[in-house]
Amino acid sequence: MHLDAGQQIGKDPWFITGIGILLLLGFLAVAGPFLVPHDPYDISFSPLRPPSADHWLGTNDGGMDILSELVFSLQNTVIFGVTAGMAGLVLGVVTGLFSAWAGGWTDQVLMRLADIVLAIPSVMVLILVAAFFQPSPVVLALALAGLAWPTTARGVRAQALTLKNSLHIKAAQRMGGSGRYIIARHLMPELFPLYLINFAAKTRMAVFMEASLAFLGLFDPGEKSLGLMISYALQYYYLDIWSNWLMPPIMLLSLLIMGATFVTISLEKNFDPRLRKTV
């Protein structure tokens, strides 16, 4: 069944486009910093210049090269997204599987904990964390993951419960397979597509969150981030900076989230057992 879906997804234009965009942006994020002509923190150029041969996108209010800033911002945003996505996924999967497997009180407690964490307005907590600890973006990403795991946990738990009651797991149990064995050998791998979906969705959410928080001024203003670039550029709305300063980060951020969206939707379509039929 998964093999089948795996083949099918390769033909899904959304998946191909999404992966294409993500690969391109990923390449930019990884290799870009080595390719751009200037150090994005270099303030030695004259500020608010229009595009030129030396500065393809001109310079910003601090006299920094916008193109270089853009590429470094993309890198930071991607790192934030992937970190938060990964950490959120691991937390969610572990909790979900454990909850499903253990059942009873453990399950109840973990799921109520999930409810409580879901109930915390995450932006609020991130604001507090950012203000109190002034952590690096990675720590903030982890904090975000700490707030974002419950949805994954719920999904994984629900799927795991169905699996747990399915014939082959029951059989494995009867044959004396230990809990750990069954989790490791059956539950974990069989839910793999679900992880992919969740990872893509969480990463998308984290990128979105990072941009929003940075835009709201909750990040270190000295950092490079797409949201921060938008927020800085928007302060100069009365100058002619739209095309070279404001639009590039907007386009890049949209592309990034779009890529993640395409992949998420395509994965859901192809792997989610309930949605499979809708392809």
């Binding site: 303030i43 209010d61 601090g62 006299g63 950012a130 203000a131 203003p221 000295g222 927020s231």
Partner: protein
Amino acid sequence: MHTAAFTKKMLQNSLAGLKEKFFQVGNHGLAAMVLAVVFMVIHICVPGTALGSEIRIADSKGDWGYPNPFRHYPRGPGYVRMSWVFDTLVWKDKNGYIPALADTWSYDPNTKAFAFTLNPRAKWHDGRPLTAADVVFTIAYFKQHPYRWISTHALDRAEAVDDHTVVIYLAGPYAPFLSDIGGAMPVLPEHIWETVTDPFVFDDPSAFIGSGPYMFKDFNKTRGTYLFEAFPDYYQGVPKKERLVYVRSGKPMMSLITGQVDLANIRPDMAKPLREKELAVIENECGWNKKIMINHKKPPFDNPVFRRALAYAINRQEIIDKAHRGFATPASYGLLSIDHDMYNPDTPRYPWNPQKAENMIASFGWAKGPDGFFHKHGQVLEIELISSNLTVAGDRVADRDGEIIKKQLTDIGIRVHLRNQEQTTTDSRVKNWDFDLAISGHGGIAGDPRILSEMISPVYGAGSVNSARFDDSPELNRLLEAQMVEMDPARRKQIVFKIQELYADQMPAISLYYPDTMAAFNQDNGVTWFYTRGGISKGIPIPQNKMSLIR
């Protein structure tokens, strides 16, 4: 599955296929246009706004508390809102002190008392006459329920000689009296406040009965809007406009051009386009300075030589050119504004000289390592620089000052960790001496020189985050005390001159620059706004002086 879906599609589309296709493609191409048309229709349906006899002022933040002495925020814009409703004894305009509730005033050095003759036409908003008894009551009331904006400790008592003459006796000589009390203390109506025991929770409509040109009508806390209405019986004449409205707007230029507001603070580079649109642009004197706070209690900053080295290392012109595109003026190292009457032109200067700075630091035994940084006993010279975003009049605009200073200090061999922090976080770290260097700023430097005592001495400014709270120089301490009690302006000027010299020499904090402060207004409605000399009241650098709507 795939084939099934395909077949279904074929079936569904068999008849209307081509026609539908054409229609749909057109449809989706039009989607954006439809949206635009919908927007346009909504736009056209909206009624035009008849402004008539009113003034609208834009404010980026919106709420500054209720406009009465006990409920407004202790910041300039809060005070200004209150000042429409409550008049003071004297006031200021473009050139200096002018009569307000008091027609004339005089100081008698022998009795250490100020005598004020009140304007007999002055009335409260409820129609009762304002008398000397109200002034006496106000002082007594503020002694009991402190209003932080003024310091009543300098006052001994007040006496009403007759209905319109009041004498205020000082506890001792107090030089800033006119600025701090006469021109800042709102007079309260005795018949309302005499029964109020907790002024902070007193929110009856009568809490806003004053003697100023405008009556308070409404404050919407969520939308950050205020409504004032003209007080027709105002003793200095009927205000020019019937209504005065404050609105929240984060986009002053848009609001001005579209006519949604008549007056707004603007950023300097908006001046040119706004002038082209026939709006008047005014510029303030240098009344607000950005400065670097130094933790002078902690080595190596506890040594004035090191602090001076920092001053030499910082290229202020570069900060101005880069981060502010030239829209600022280098500040005097003596703290007082270069536009102040008591500014000392001979205040020591520290022109940018990185070589000299390096030599001075080297004199402490630091040596340049191969990494380009200073080392001593195997340790790198490392400092933390805290930066936060703040500008004149409470607006918050991110700037690049921190990044540029970091680069300049790095260039001479100091490893700098720049931390951009939220304002209150920075403030409380500075307050608790938990920092090395912090970029900060404050106004008041074109007002009464009392600001020197407050911003330098821990005696006056222990509770302030902007005060250097510098206690190392007994001579400076003595002068800061002396200028507060020197009633003779000429002699006070002498002292203030010396303070500036000593301060610039000791350098407990480094003044960087005065940002250009501008506002723009609509000149079609007969109101000419201006910046007050030395700032409104205690030195508020906002052009919303109530006299603009009176004379």
